[in-house]
């Protein structure tokens, strides 16, 4: 059992392994060398009968050769498997098994998006009562007794509910009722409110539901002016509708702001050239204005020191503009064929 013979055996084994063409040939070689009667196995069996000196040298060598041959076989086997994998026929067009999928309401998605946009510029989200006293909803906001909004034809009143100081209870027709609540909650300046809530009005048609959502921004501080209002709504319009959209403010009238504005966005359909959907290239987004000094006073603030701006827009209105939905009532219909689209 000389060393050269052993080395030749190893070399021959390895070259035979590399020459095999399939797994069966490889298995035959494995048996030839490593099987129970294989050449290497036979050699291993002879080790105990060797002299102590040879036992150590040859023993180590034979064991090493065995290990090398084993590795060569494993590596060759991997080659065959890789080749097999490459040639395997497998159908990737089979439909996937999806996890069950639900849907968030479009209004929820819009509210989350709107909240995130305003959060970036420091607005803090709050919520205030939907059933509200007249004072917070109207009187305190400089809306006089005989104003149409306070008429029972426009606003829902609650039966048998009245506060000695704040008057009758109504379903709040706008998120502006949160203005005085927030000023009172903080008790001091500054104010950076985003109030998102359900509102109610006595009107039903394709663009009005008796219940709808508004989001209201209110900023009061020293030195707040119209340029801040313009900047804020510009930021919102570009974030929500896309950077190519333009916003403009034009004069309007509200009791609780002075000056008052209406905010328009360049039309989503025609891009501002003018079409059937829009008004001379513009779509109305909603109202805004500088907080009326009477409202500041009613909130206990000094209107000669502080100024503020506010805006209150319909959540459904902005999302309907964005998704081109033509009937607001669909949103509250509970029709899963609609809800599952989003």
């Amino acid at each position: 059992m000389d060393t050269n013979r052993l080395q030749n055996l190893k070399n021959q084994a390895i070259s035979s392994i590399l020459e095999t063409k399939n797994e069966q040939e490889l298995e035959e070689l494995r048996i030839e060398y490593l099987g129970r009667h294989g050449q290497i196995t036979q050699l291993l069996k002879k080790i105990p009968s060797l002299s102590p000196e040879q036992k150590k040298d040859k023993g180590n060598l034979i064991n090493e050769i065995k290990k090398i041959i084993e590795e060569a076989i494993i590596s060759q086997k991997k080659n065959f498997q890789q080749k097999d994998n490459q040639e395997e026929w497998f159908d990737i067009t089979i439909p996937g098994e999806k996890p069950v999928k639900g849907h968030l309401h479009l209004i929820t998605q819009a509210i989350e998006e709107i909240t995130d946009i305003f959060k970036k510029i420091g607005f803090y989200r709050v919520a205030y009562p939907e059933v509200e006293w007249d004072w917070y909803a109207f009187e305190g906001l400089n809306i006089p007794k005989n104003h149409p909004a306070r008429d029972e034809l426009e606003t829902f009143f609650i039966q048998n509910l009245k506060h000695p100081k704040y008057g009758e209870a109504v379903l709040t027709p706008h998120t502006s009722s949160g203005q005085l609540r927030e000023i009172q909650r903080l008790g001091k300046l500054p104010v950076r409110m985003l109030n998102v809530a359900k509102c109610y009005r006595r009107q039903v048609d394709i663009s009005h539901a008796p219940m709808f959502y508004q989001f209201e921004g209110l900023v009061i501080d020293q030195g707040i002016n119209i340029t801040h209002l313009k900047g804020t709504l510009d930021f919102f319009v570009k974030q929500y509708f896309g950077p190519q959209r333009e916003a403009r403010v034009r004069p309007f009238h509200f009791q609780f702001t002075e000056p008052s504005f209406e905010v328009d966005v360049s039309c989503i359909v025609c891009g501002g050239r003018g079409c059937r959907v829009c008004k001379q290239g513009w779509m109305e987004l909603g109202g805004a204005g500088m907080v009326h000094p009477t409202v500041l006073k009613n909130g206990g603030l000094d209107p000669t020191k502080y100024t503020g701006f506010a805006f209150g827009w319909g959540v459904e209105r902005v999302l309907m503009m964005k998704y081109k939905i033509d009937d607001i009532r669909l949103l509250f219909s509970g029709d899963l064929r609609f809800l599952e689209q989003f």
């Binding site: 059933v131 829902f156 998102v196 008796p210 900023v219 313009k230 403009r248 004069p251």
Partner: protein, 670 residues
């Protein structure tokens, strides 16, 4: 209110080279919104939305007046042409036709003017007038009636014409209607009169005018009319509006009166009308001018601090520019010094301008909002509410979405029938005093009925829906109701364990542990009656109910109804770190035969509490009377030996046998 104005008519009052497109754009930017510009023949028609504070713009002349200020600021030279009107109305002294007028309450009619014409020839109007009225969407009738409509559009002053000879006794009493009177209006309709309506009766007590809205049929001008009584007045806007609302009837005239017509503009309209009667109807003035005007408004003065203009607009505008703008709008200005001015409000803006901020709006809009720069307010420290509801809302909604639920949003108002269906007493609920329909009368105290409506509407075998919204609970007659956020889900096509699993996962997602699920005890929600009496459970946490869930009584529908306000108070985002165990667990499955009516929960609790070494117990199989549990043994301080596990197993088997009568069936090890 939207009005329609013809470009050619507008330009009769305006000397300008502005194109319709320019007029539309610049008027919108600085005054009233032009919503549409349409080509009509060789003319253009503007549709303009007029805000409620600007009734002075509800006319061709009013819009021309605005444009004469606005267009020059865009570099388009423009002048308002003066109205070609005589200073004095020449009335007859001799043979003046009589009219006796009595006004019961001058607040009903701040200014009352009237004039009688004789020798009126009734015939069609001249062509221009006919065309202008028709293009402005107003029907032409005859030269007399057309004058009143024409001048209403041109000057914003509605007027009315009577056949003088049909007014019995040549007497008029202007008063409030009372006791359910009626009038037949010009359109032939019989209209019951709400109390408080402004009306006129003649000498025989016949009602001849529904003031400010529409005249009476019994006094109308027809082809045979020879003598015409022309009427130009202003009325209390609130009463006109209330009557229109109660009658659900509104005319062009009423729409103007309810917004307020300038009493100082009355004579201008009267003058122009006289001119037109003489020219178009060959008529002669045949009476004295009646002008009852007991309380002409005082001159209105508003002081303005120049510093405030800059403070609100955010840009520096000098005093000279401010004065120029205000003067161009018709204000008379007195300079009080370097930093202050006094403005006298023009009569056509009397109702709208009262405080300095009103003047600033005028200055800013004419200066141009579009010329102001943009900036963002600085960030600020705001004291936050203790609980951030919207954060938790987002979290649970998104969890439910990914577990296959679809969110619905339903109206807060429900019908009486819906409440009764769910055994909720309507008298316990808040009721809307002026509901819009039968469907929406009560504020819902529970979201369950709404979700069931959605389920029945969709008619599907499998449904998973939820809603997160306020319910409204009456407190007392002078307190606002409690508005409590509820998280309610409805599932069809699943079983009790699935619902229970969802509830448990939701609570765990919110960091609420150690809650107990107990039989429903009527602890909190008053409508538990709609649940199946035995298949309902309550979630108890720190002795409080967090909600109920289970199967409904009527159908195989599962519902969870959670008190979200309460849950969020207990929610906790903080997670606790526990070291990863160093020694391997031993896991084995044990099957028991259980007596009837044994609660699995009690078995599992008994196994779990046998030893601290038992980390978890799961129910992995149920078949007939056999229950198989997977038990995980793990000691944090050492590797368990087979002997130790066997000892524990024997303990478990003994406890279950002694306490609950369970029999070990067989065992397999993993």
């Amino acid at each position: 209110m939207n009005i329609f104005i013809l470009d050619s008519w507008l330009k009769e009052h305006l000397q300008t080279k502005a194109t319709p497109k320019q007029i539309g754009e610049y008027l919108s930017l600085c005054s009233q919104s032009v919503e549409k510009i349409t080509k009509v023949g060789d003319d253009w028609l503007y549709e303009i939305e007029i805000t409620t504070n600007r009734p002075d713009c509800l006319s061709v002349y009013g819009i021309a007046r605005e444009l004469s200020v606005i267009l020059p600021r865009f570099g388009i030279p423009t002048k308002l042409k003066s109205l070609d009107i005589n200073q004095e109305i020449k009335t007859t002294d001799k043979k003046a036709l009589p009219l006796e007028v009595k006004i019961k309450d001058s607040s009903l009619c701040p200014r009352f003017t009237a004039l009688i014409f004789d020798k009126v020839v009734v015939k069609p109007s001249p062509k221009t007038i006919q065309t202008r009225l028709e293009k402005s969407d107003i029907r032409t009738l005859n030269n007399v009636v057309d004058i009143s409509n024409y001048l209403m559009l041109e000057l914003g002053q509605p007027m009315h014409t009577f056949d003088y000879d049909k007014i019995k006794g040549h007497k008029m009493i202007l008063r409030e209607s009372a006791g359910g009177e009626k009038i037949t209006t010009l359109d032939g309709q019989i209209r019951p009169l709400p109390d408080g309506t402004i009306i006129i009766e003649d000498g025989e007590g016949r009602i001849i005018d529904l003031c400010g809205i529409m005249g009476g049929k019994n006094s109308e001008v027809d082809e045979k009319t020879k003598r015409v009584l022309l009427f130009v007045q202003t009325y209390d806007p609130v009463r006109i509006r209330q009557t229109c609302q109660r009658l659900s009837f509104r005319t062009e005239a009423a729409s103007r009166f309810e917004k307020g017509v300038d009493p100082e503009g009355v004579m201008l309209a009267m003058n122009k009308a006289v001119q037109m009667f003489e020219k178009n109807c060959e008529a002669k003035v045949a009476s004295q001018l009646i002008d009852i005007y007991p309380h002409p408004p005082h001159e209105k003065i508003v002081k303005l601090d120049i510093g405030l203009v800059n403070k609100i607009m955010g840009v520096e505008i000098n005093q000279k520019e401010i004065i120029n703008i205000l003067q161009s709008l018709g204000f008379m200005i007195k300079v009080d010094g370097d930093s202050s001015i006094t403005a006298v409000v023009p009569h056509w803006r009397d109702d709208d301008i009262s405080i300095p901020e009103d003047l600033i709006e005028e200055i800013a809009r004419i200066y141009g909002y579009h010329r102001l720069p943009t900036s963002l307010p600085s960030l600020a420290m705001i004291p936050q509410n203790k609980i951030d509801f919207s954060k938790w809302e987002t979290k649970v909604k998104s969890a439910l979405k990914f577990w296959g639920f679809t969110e619905t949003i339903n109206y807060s108002m429900v019908s009486e029938a819906v409440l009764k269906d769910f055994e909720i007493k309507p008298e316990d609920c808040l009721k809307i005093a002026n509901p819009l329909s039968e469907e929406w009368i009560f504020l819902r105290p529970s979201l369950v009925p709404s979700l069931l409506q959605v389920a029945s509407l969709n008619k599907k075998e499998k449904i998973k829906i939820f809603e997160l919204a306020n319910v409204y609970l009456f407190q007392s007659e002078n307190e606002l109701p409690e508005e409590n956020l509820m998280l309610t889900g409805l599932v069809i096509g699943e079983n009790f364990t699935k619902i229970k699993g969802i509830v448990k996962s939701l609570l765990e997602e919110l960091g609420i542990k150690d809650f107990e699920i107990k039989p429903y005890q009527l602890q909190k929600t008053f409508y538990g009656k709609i649940f199946h009496p035995s298949r309902r459970a309550e979630i108890i946490f720190k002795d409080n109910s967090l909600g109920i869930f289970g199967q409904l009584k009527k159908e195989k529908v599962f519902v969870f109804d959670l008190d979200f306000t309460q849950i969020v108070k207990e929610a906790n985002e903080m997670k606790k770190y526990q070291p990863i165990p160093k020694y391997p667990p031993i896991i084995e499955d044990l099957s028991f035969i259980i007596p009837e009516k044994t609660y699995v929960g009690e078995i599992m609790k008994a196994i779990k509490t046998t030893s601290l070494i038992i980390q978890s117990v799961e129910l992995i199989d149920s078949y007939e009377q056999t229950r198989t549990f997977r038990i995980t043994y793990q000691d944090p301080s050492k590797t368990l030996t087979a002997e130790e596990v066997e000892k524990l197993r024997k303990q478990i088997i003994k406890i279950l046998k002694d306490k609950l009568g369970l029999k070990l069936k067989g065992k397999g090890e993993n």
